[in-house]
Every structure is written in C-alpha cells, then in structure tokens.
C-alpha cells in the first residue's frame, strides 16, 4: 500500500498511466498491436517497434527541452531549427539524380548538427546575455527560421538520392532496429550520465528555482543558460538529420512542424514543472513516447495531420491545469467545502430525527 502511494505521488505516475491507457486502447481496437516479428536478417518488426522508432526524434528534442524548461525558460524555435538543419544536410549532399553526394556525408552531417548548435547559441546569447524573455527570444528564430530554411533550399523540396543517407533513420543491415533508435538511446544515456556524474544538473535546477540566489551561491548563471540553449539547438540539429533522412528530403515548410509543441507537451507530461526547477529526464522520455503513441493512435482513427493540434492543445491545457498549484488549491477548497456541507447536512438530519 505504501509502495502504491509512493508510486501515485511520483512524477512518473502521470506519463506511465497515460501511456498504459493508450496502449490498452490500442491493444483492444487495433489487431495484432503487440505482435513483434523477426525477419530473416534479424530485424524486429511490429507496430510497437514502429512507434518506438518514430518517437526517437521527439525523445531527442524533449531532452534539450527538459533542460531549457528546468531553467524556467522555453525554446519554441526547435521546430524551425529542425527545418534549417534538414535543409543544410540535404542541400550539402545535393539532389543529384545519379545518387552521388556532392559533399561527403559525414561532413554534411557535421555541418547540419553544427548549424543546430549555432542556432542554439544564438538563442542562448539573446536569453543569457541580453536577458530577453525566452519566449520572445526564441520566437524570433521560430518564424525567421523557416524563412532561412526556404532560402537555403531556394523554396524547393530537395530530394536526396544518395543511398547511405537513408540509413540515418533506416536500418543498417544486421541491426535489429533502425539507427535513430540507437541515436536517441545514446543521447539519453549521455545526458543521464552527465547529470549523474557532474553537478551541472544541480546548477540548472538552482537557476530555474531562483536565478538571483544561484548567482550569489557562485553559479555562473549566464553560462548555464547559454549552455542549456546551445544543447537544445544541438538536439534540434540531430533531429533535423533524422527527420530529413526519414523522408530523404528537406521540406522547409513541414520539417519539424509543431514539434516544439510536442516536445513541451512531453516535458510537461513527464512531470517537469513549466515554471522551472526540478526536472525528470525519465519522465520526459516516457512522455515523448506517450505523445508519439497518441499521434499514431489518432492517425489510425483517421485524424489528419493538420487537425491533430486540436487534441494536443486540449492535452496541454489539461496538463497545465493538473500542474497548477492554484488549481489544486481551488480543487481542495471545493472538496473541503463539499464535505463541510455534507457534515452540516448530516447534522441537520440528525437534529430533525
């Protein structure tokens, strides 16, 4: 009983329950949902695997977003940065029909991740150095970013025919799962390792709880903020690689569209407060998988991509309300008011009798 209570009050409760509900729903209504098959060359195959593969982009993005939100900031430019990064890697490799790369793939990949970091640095400078509110600072890149991506691709969708490029989000022969799952796993492990072994996680938390106090304790607040945004840019850069490899093309208008919302949703679902402070990486990862499951489920129900935001917007507001301290206070007050009323009603009944 004690254990159950611990679990229900833990931060992982909400995302795990949400995921479980979605999985049960899918298990009942979708045929063979939990079936996993192994092909002859050792590949795993199935709907669950599919969701896992698709959610790797979101897992990576939500890692960066978790750290940014922990400093009580926000990065709404990640979707646009994904588009820029995708545009860079595709234009560098080039859309030559004979499948020859114009730039070596490793170099193009480095460049696209680099441009992601550069975008992150830009956000970091605005937020940390010029002390602009994070929403507004990242809003600049959110709208200008797609313009930049359009300029890079000259308004066209650049399709890459170079074969190895597909393997970033595809299966390398002999591997059981697509490469992007491993990339996501590696990034999660890396971040968890850094947070466990160094005190940077503690610094991030203290900046999020009270920047002034953190400064007096001797934490370099500017540097922490700067690094966090740069890391978020890095995550967006990697996601851009995966997203462009998935469709083997760079689409400046649609790459990473609304992904910032999904990432914020994943972080909030994972139990990290949007007002900053304590953060839960595990929660964010499960949150990201949950969001992807939700997306896949809705697609299966026949909801189109541009109608999807309606459901997600409602989910965001619901989660915000659950997190809000004031809403909880009001709910408690309402509950105690009701029980008080019930008591008086009982007393009246007793009096009458």
């Amino acid at each position: 009983m004690e254990k159950l209570k611990n679990f229900t009050s833990s931060s992982l409760f909400l995302p795990i329950v949400a995921l479980a509900v979605l999985l049960i729903f899918n298990g009942i209504f979708v045929e063979d949902f939990f079936d996993i098959q192994i092909t002859e060359d050792g590949r795993l195959f199935g709907r669950v695997i599919d969701i896992l593969t698709r959610s790797s982009s979101l897992v990576i993005l939500s890692l960066g977003m978790t750290l940014v939100i922990a400093t009580s900031g926000i990065d709404i430019s990640v979707g646009a940065v994904v588009a820029i990064s995708a545009a860079v890697v595709c234009t560098l490799i080039g859309g030559r029909g004979d499948g020859v790369a114009e730039t070596p793939m490793a170099l193009a990949m480095l460049a696209s991740v680099g441009i992601g970091i550069l975008c992150g640095i830009w956000n970091g400078i605005l937020v940390a150095k010029f002390k602009i509110q994070a929403v507004v600072a990242t809003l600049i890149l959110m709208t200008a970013g797609r313009g930049i991506a359009q300029l890079l691709t000259e308004g066209q969708i650049v399709t890459v025919y170079y074969k190895p490029f597909a393997s970033i989000a595809g299966v390398i022969p002999g591997m059981p799962l697509p490469t992007n799952v491993f990339i996501a796993l590696a990034m999660v492990l890396l971040v968890v390792f850094v947070m466990k072994k160094t005190s940077i996680g503690l610094f991030i938390q203290s900046v999020g709880i009270n920047p002034t106090a953190a400064k007096y304790v001797g934490i370099n607040v500017t540097l922490v903020l700067f690094l966090v945004y740069a890391f978020s840019g890095f995550c967006a850069g990697v996601t851009g690689l995966i997203e462009s490899s998935l469709i083997r093309a760079a689409d400046a208008n649609n790459a990473g569209l609304n992904m910032e919302m999904d990432a914020i949703l994943a972080v909030a679902l994972g139990g990290t407060l949007l007002s900053g402070g304590k953060f839960y990486l595990g929660g964010s990862v499960i949150g990201a998988v949950t969001i992807q499951t939700l997306t896949t489920t809705l697609y299966a129900l026949g909801v189109s991509a541009d109608q999807l935001p309606v459901v997600k917007a409602i989910a965001v507001i619901a989660i915000c309300l659950i997190q809000s301290k004031k809403a909880r206070d009001l709910f408690d007050k309402w509950k105690s008011g009701r029980s008080a009323k019930a008591v008086t009603a009982d007393a009246k009944a007793v009096n009458k009798a």
Partner: protein, 335 residues
C-alpha cells in the same frame, strides 16, 4: 547637453521617436530610389495591405502592456476567416449576423484564455500557444480546402473604396482606424487603461493598491481575442477566402510591430501610435521588396526578425540605462 540626451534616452517615448525617424528615413530612401514611392496611393496602400495586421497589433499591444503575450492571434484570425466563409457558403444567415457571430466567437475565445491564465496563474505563452494550435486545428477540421466567399453583400463591402485626397482606402482601413482611435482613447484616458499600465508596471503593487487584477487580466485577453477576430474580418475582406494557412506567423509580425513601436516586453510601457508605426515600417520593407522585384518574399521575415532583435536589444540597454539613472539620482538625493 549630455544630460539632455541621457534624459531623452530614458524617456518612454524614445523607442517611438526612433521608430518614426526610421520610418521617415526608409520612406525618404524609397522616394530617392524608386519614383513610385512618390505616389500618395503607395502610402495609402501601406494601410490597405496591413489593415488586418494593424488591428491584430492593437490587441497584442494590450497583452504585452500587462507583461503577458498572446501567440494565438494569427490562428484566431485564420479561424475567423474560415468560419465566416463557411457560414456564408453553407448557411443562409445574413452577412451581418455572420460577422457578429465570428466576432463573438473570437471574443469568447480570448475570454477563455484570459480566464485560464488569470484564474489558475498559468503562463500566458503556454496557454496561448495551445490556443494557437487549437484554432489552427479547428480551421483544418472545418475545411482543409480553401472556401471562397461569394456572398454579394460581403463582396460589395470588400470592393468598397473611400477616396481620400488623391487616393483611396478600403473598408479594412476604416475599421483599423476606428479601432486605433478607440484603443488609444481607452489606454490613454480611462481608468481601465491606467489599470493596465499599473498591472504591467508591477502586478503585486497593483494588487496591493486594490486594483482589479483578475478582471483587468481577463479583459485584456478578451480584447486581444476580439481584435484578432476583427482583424480576421479585415483579412477576409482583402482575401475573400477562408484558408487554413491564413495569417501564418502573424503573431510574430504583430509582436514585432508592437515592440518596434516602443512597447516594452516586460510590460507597463508602450502606446498605440507606436504600434501603428511599427506596422508601417514592416509595410515599407515589404514595399521595398516588391519594388525591387527580384528578392524572395522570405527576406521580409528575416529583415523583420533582425529589426525585432535590434529593438529588443536596444530596449535591454535602455532599461539598464534607466536603472543606472534612477540609482544615480537617488544617490544624489541621499548626499
């Protein structure tokens, strides 16, 4: 002399002066470079093309003044266009009833956002970001295709031209000008306007002074919702369609206009004429690009983004300068 300059920089109208001068310079350069800029109609076109943006900017200025933000404006505008087009195409209700209905819808949507933000103490950007996605999604739910507005009364309204001097303005401009005047009067000369400035200056002080914080907050987001819907009507008058991608990124343009016009993002400072000039500067940049002819329209977004950056950084410096000035004057008083 030095003291005068320092006082001028600390003045709350400094950004506004910079904006007006910048506008004059840009227009002057335009006249120098292209003969076409001389025509009065080119100037009036700035208003005609940006009527919707002007109205939306008014709404967003209200939210920025209390230190909030409203990211849903572009999406509410798109939803307004779509609902209006859908109502006119599929139901028999009159144009004016349809307009009243969509205005009511926008206002109610703003009120709900404001209620959530004020009642539960939620961050405005996350709620309005959710609102933005909600409205965009709803627009797609109604129709994923473009709906044309063919209602004769509405088309006649769209074709209406009022001649002003050597040129003419459209219906949208008239709506925008009325909205500008009303907003300027409300902010400058009413108790409600002063409450907004007080709330933006410091929420806790405003609350301790006994000002109606909750009511003011909800009203401000309601006004923003109303302005977005009104902007949507102006937009529909111009485009005569309802489409999912209308007003994409307009929240950014509106925030940029407001900031360029001297609204402080931390709240408490800013006024309506500044917001107008902010929009006009963007209009001039767009006119430049269309006169030049070879530049991609995407450059507008990038130039506006850069301009926004410059003004925000300028604001940061002004704020620092001001706090230094107050510190200095309090030191002098003490000694």
């Amino acid at each position: 002399m030095k003291k005068k300059i320092s006082e001028l920089i600390a003045s709350k109208y400094f950004s506004f002066f910079v904006t007006v001068i910048l506008f004059a310079i840009l227009y002057g350069v335009g006249i120098g470079m292209y003969k076409g800029f001389m025509k009065p109609q080119v100037f009036l076109n700035l208003f005609i093309d940006n009527a919707a943006l002007i109205i939306v900017t008014i709404g967003i200025t209200f939210t920025l003044l209390i230190g909030g933000i409203d990211l849903s404006v572009g999406a509410v505008l798109a939803l307004t266009c779509m609902v209006l087009a859908w109502l006119l195409a599929n139901t028999g209700i009159s144009v004016f009833a349809a307009i009243a209905l969509v205005l009511l819808m926008g206002t109610a949507f703003g009120a709900i956002q404001g209620y959530l933000i004020a009642k539960f103490d939620l961050q405005p950007f996350i709620i309005t970001l959710a609102g933005m996605l909600f409205c965009r999604g709803m627009t797609a739910v109604i129709s994923r295709e473009t709906i044309n507005i063919t209602n004769p009364t509405f088309v006649a309204m769209a074709d209406f031209r009022l001649s002003v001097g050597a040129g003419f303005v459209s219906m949208g401009v008239i709506i925008a000008i009325i909205a500008l005047i009303v907003a300027a009067v409300v902010l400058g000369f009413t108790r409600f306007g002063r409450n907004i400035y007080a709330l933006g200056g410091s929420e806790s002080s405003a609350s301790l002074m006994g000002l109606p914080v909750f009511r003011t907050k909800v009203s401000v987001y309601t006004i923003s919702g109303f302005c977005s819907a009104l902007g949507g009507i102006a937009y529909a008058l111009m485009m005569l369609t309802g489409y999912n991608l209308h007003g994409m990124g307009m929240e950014m343009d509106a925030i940029a206009s407001s900031v360029i016009g001297g609204t402080l993002l931390t709240g408490g400072v800013g006024f309506i004429p500044g917001a107008l000039f902010g929009v006009l500067i963007q209009g001039v940049i767009l006119t430049f690009i269309s006169f030049q002819g070879t530049l991609s329209a995407w450059w507008t977004k990038i130039v506006v983004g850069a301009l926004l950056c410059v003004f925000i950084i300028m604001q940061a410096f002004i704020t620092e300068h001001k706090s230094k000035l107050t510190a200095k004057s309090s030191l002098e008083e003490n000694s």
